[in-house]
Amino acid sequence: MKNYDTNLHVRGESRFVDDFPAPDNTLHAAVKGSAVAHGTIKSIHLENAENYPGVRRILLAKDVPGENQIGSIIQDEQLLAAVEVHFIGQPIAIVVAETPEQAREAVALIAIEYEEKPVVTDPRVAAEKGQLIAPARTFSCGDTDAAWEKCDVIVSGTAASGGQEHLYLETQGCLAMPKEDGGLKLISSTQGPTAVQRIVARVLGLPMHKIEVDVLRLGGGFGGKEDQATAWATMAALAAYCMQQPVKLVLRRHEDMVMTGKRHPYSSDFKIGLDKAGKILAYEATYYQNAGAAADLSTAILERTLFHSTNSYFIPNVKATALSCRTNLPPNTAFRGFGGPQAMFVIESAIAAAAEKMGVTPATIQDKNLWQDGDETPYGQIIQESRIKSCWHETVERYDIEKLQQNVRRFNERNQEVKKGFAMMPVTFGISFTNTALNQAGALVHVYNDGSVGVSTGAVEMGQGVNAKLQQVAARVLGIDARRIRVDSTNTGRVANTSPTAASSGSDLNGHATRLACEQILERLQCFASRLLDVERSKISFHDDKIWVDEKPQSLQWQELTDKAYWARVSLSAQAHYATPNIHFDKSKEKGHPFAYYAYGVAATVVRLDCIRGTYIVESVDIVHDLGSSLSPKVDLGQIEGALMQGIGWLMMEDVVFSEEGRLLASTLSTYKIPDIYFAPEDLRVHILENAAHPAGLFHSKAIGEPPFMYGIGAWFALREAMKAYRSNGEIPFIAPFTPERVLMAISRLTKDE
């Protein structure tokens, strides 16, 4: 099963937003962002920019015909700042010009005076000042207060994880084209076409049916285009609406990095209590999420942090509190893992700290506390069909972890300036949007009377291979060759009210909807074939492009049948809707059954540290991953390998640094580094858990997009072990990412055990 578009990609023939031949009269937009992180706009001087060659118009907040509001969960974000500005880069004005260069040059000529206000960049400071996006939330079970006295070991501390730039290779962009009746067609690089449609309609004061959003593919999304593609699409739409001419707005990399939000940095407190045997009895955590200047998806992300506060471990007494803190940074947003990785980093830090105190390896504690069927999570979901233990045991046996650890120890005995570290990282990740309502999808399937098939859904292809999977689903249900099936662009006119392609659930939700639509058509064609062949319907089946009766192939084949069906006035199109069954969550009690199921896996990581230079590489990662019965093993393998690398990047290299004034310091690719091929793990082995069909899943499969990201956390803890192997005395703070600087400075403060 080939990734649907790969053949176009390798020839440079696949089109992204900036590659669509735009109409000749297309204008280009560029955006003026705030130069200060917090303040009031005193004056805006547009004259120089307005008089610049090629400039056609400059749009400000006052030019918005509808509501100047793009907030999705909480309405707290203006499209264009009118008076107050809350972060550097916050859009204030849109310059529309004949060329993108003219638009950009004119942006530089807009002069804005501000009255500056105090800037807050630290979430704990924001929390002290009461700057919360929403009231704090707490998930709890058991009674931690009572549990502490039963513990033999109690450790508390802090852990902090950094932001992460999405660095989708295709920057944010949109081409907006006016239609004849005052509506607009948008070609947008968004994971959420309906979100774009809804917000554009709101901002222009139009009904949603006048806005058509079409998405062919994205050059990467990773969450960064779930909510944050909307602003740029809306600006292009506003400009096209005002000018009644097509307008293209494509950000340059530097603009994209400065003006869009990233993964949320977290600063957290933890307290963990265990008995002598290593059983975790109690765990408390408080998470300070750095939300940035507006809500965006922060509250939903915060919720997932709470859901994953204990990662893969059963803990009877838990109290986890989370605060979404408003700061003067760009609004942070969805990024693969969606708050889960930040929670897991904290519990793994707590376990590492406890292991240190108890003089055991973290793996000993991890192993003793893994979920078992029947365990109840702090939010009330009962664990069923848990596979975390089977993944753990499979990892230990398949990769001979005992020997691997022994080799690491032996290497460390023999080498003074190079040290290795080892860590296990189990991952349990809940599959479903935590906002239950989003767990729905639609599909529209057309069978044409030449036997070819077109599938439309709400799923957006961004490299994750969802189109390949949808094609596979339709081919399996209809019993025809996948080459007969084309997955069309994602278009709000064909499938409406879609959820964003996110939460790893794109294939699950849209695949089920596709299955249901294909089943309707199949049923009609089977009825029709039974009339045509004069046999009972139950004896008819379709596969290999043929019609079978009692498992004998008939001369009547798929293509001919579709043509005959058309002439017999049988409907060859179907629309279907899917809603994930049996999920619910009661926020007033913070209990329920929010996830359809969990994805499981374990990674064993070895990192090698050059103790002289403070540099390191990931030597090996051995993974056992549960993805049910895969719809497309090569697509899924690619997701595991790619997510792992992003996770390693988040924790071992990528450093989002802001100045105290709220200015992004690493704002270009020459200062913000992501992994290159040399930084990829030298030896990577992935084993898909066998005989793991997931009965409730789409053709027994499981979702794949996000869970493997968190394997990267293992690399951080492996490096920490390598540092301790070099010098064992002293503190290594739980601060991610590690960078060569943090590593060298930390090991220079350690001392050797005498």
Partner: protein, 468 residues
């Protein structure tokens, strides 16, 4: 008027020579297979091949089109991915498809073009050289594992199609259906391309442009510019009277490929690969690295340790300035208006000597150093005859560690001496905190890297307990 070939097409354009090729390809020629990812040579999505005459042959190199002014293309052949496509996929393209080495697809054209450079130029198609050819390509989706598998497969498949005779490579690739047939006509067509105006002789001098077009691309799109004729200076590395003389416009890859340089510094290949990426090194020149005056310039740091001198030229007359005297302050040079670098020279080390280069950056490859340092140590038995240590990122200029170098000269190599040299170095530098690291870190790191010089080159005389 500027004349060059773009794929099969002859281009004659009056566009400003400072326009970058990426914009020219996409906006003027609507070839959308070349992607814009960063406009600073850091992602590789815009990679194209440029072919130029090297002797009597046309040689193709992958370069970043976002940093390449069209004014430097006179008489050359530019190849985008569209110009490599045949009716059928090549084995390279098929290997990427088969191994799912492309996910979102935005970076993929750059990978294919970079690997085509490898296919065209690498004599024995070694895997590790294939990896180096994509040292400037970033992929955010795959994690590179599938790209490695695709490269493995591609090398195997292509070896089944052609013999390893580098001099016949293009011809063989055409016969094997791995390169479009029009490539056979290109040398003749290129020879016919003649500029209809003489080159401009004033304005900003642009050689490789690999940093200029990161910093000033918007200004250079309308500024007065002149270009260094890179065809004429190619391969000008020579030794005369125990001096190695290098023409100003020699690129870093020319240096890496030079047998002369490899002989003087046997580890040079390893060091060069820590500098920029292969496509950048194909364009970046020695003189450019020097006049750019970055306090962290990798190549300049190497040349400082080699005791290099720059030969400056103005209206036919010249003067020589020691490289360590060339820097007067941050980005300030001992360079008159209209004066330019003609060549760089350094004495070829003799006797027993060790040369080492150390660099630590957040990412090992294609990154700017937090600190870099080079050391040239001539010795007899275990006594240092002369030492020259240089360091970047620790002062406003590329810095010669005069005091620690002077201290080392005449001393024995042992733990105590190395430690004292480190202490002296720490006292003579003045690092500042910036996005590449805090001042404290840079100071600590330089100390470590000086230790690393000795640890690398004289491991037998140092004890294992000496570091940090």
């Amino acid at each position: 008027m500027l004349i060059f070939l773009l794929n099969q097409q002859k281009i004659e354009t009056d566009q400003h020579p400072g326009t970058v090729l990426l914009d020219f390809i996409r906006n003027d020629n609507r070839l959308f297979g070349t992607k814009e990812g960063c406009r600073e040579g850091d992602c590789g999505a815009c990679t194209v091949l440029t072919g130029r005459y090297d002797g009597d042959k046309v040689v193709y190199r992958a370069v970043n089109s976002c940093l390449l002014p069209i004014g430097s293309l006179q008489g050359k052949h530019v190849v985008t991915l569209e110009g490599l496509n045949g009716i059928e996929n090549t084995v390279l393209q098929d290997a990427f498809v088969y191994e799912h080495a492309s996910q979102c697809g935005f970076c993929t054209p750059g990978f294919i073009v970079s690997l085509t450079d490898f296919l065209l130029n690498n004599a024995d198609l070694k895997f590790q050289e294939a990896i180096d050819s994509i040292s400037g390509n970033i992929c955010r989706c795959t994690g590179y594992a599938s790209i490695r598998r695709a490269i493995d497969r591609f090398i195997l498949d292509v070896k089944n199609k052609i013999d390893l005779q580098p001099e016949l490579r293009i011809q063989q690739l055409i016969s094997a259906g791995q390169l479009p047939a029009y490539f056979a006509e290109i040398p003749v067509r290129m020879a016919e391309l003649v500029a209809d105006t003489s080159p401009v002789k004033n304005g900003k001098i642009i050689a490789g442009g690999t940093d200029l077009f990161v910093q000033q691309a918007d200004a250079l799109r309308s500024a007065s510019v002149q270009f260094v004729d890179d065809a004429a200076v190619h391969h000008q590395i020579r030794v005369e009277n125990n001096e190695c003389i290098i023409a100003a416009a020699t690129t870093m890859e020319d240096m890496r490929r030079s047998p002369i340089f490899q002989k003087i510094i046997p580890d040079f290949d390893k060091f060069a690969k820590l500098i920029a990426s292969k496509p950048i090194r194909e364009r970046a020149t020695l003189a450019g690295n020097i006049v750019n005056a970055s306090p962290i310039a990798d190549f300049t740091i190497i040349l400082l340790a080699l005791d290099a001198t720059v030969e400056l030229e103005k209206n036919g007359s010249g003067r020589h300035v020691a490289l360590h005297d060339f820097y007067l302050g941050y980005k300030q040079l001992d360079l008159q208006p209209d004066e330019k670098i003609a060549s760089i020279r350094f004495p070829v080390p003799h006797g027993d000597y060790a040369f080492n280069f150390e660099k630590v950056s957040r990412r090992t490859h294609l990154d700017i150093a937090s600190v870099n340092t080079a050391a040239l140590i001539a010795y007899e038995n275990s006594t240092i005859q002369s030492a020259r240590l240089s360091a970047g990122g620790v002062a406003p200029v590329p810095f010669l560690l005069r005091e620690s170098s002077a201290f080392l000269t005449g001393n024995e190599i042992n733990d105590a001496v190395v430690q004292q040299a480190i202490d002296i170095a720490a006292a003579e530098i003045s690092p500042i905190s910036d996005v590449r690291g805090s001042a404290d870190y840079k100071r600590t790191l330089l100390c470590q890297l000086i230790f690393a010089h000795f640890h690398e080159k004289f491991p037998q005389v140092l004890s294992e307990e000496a570091s940090l």
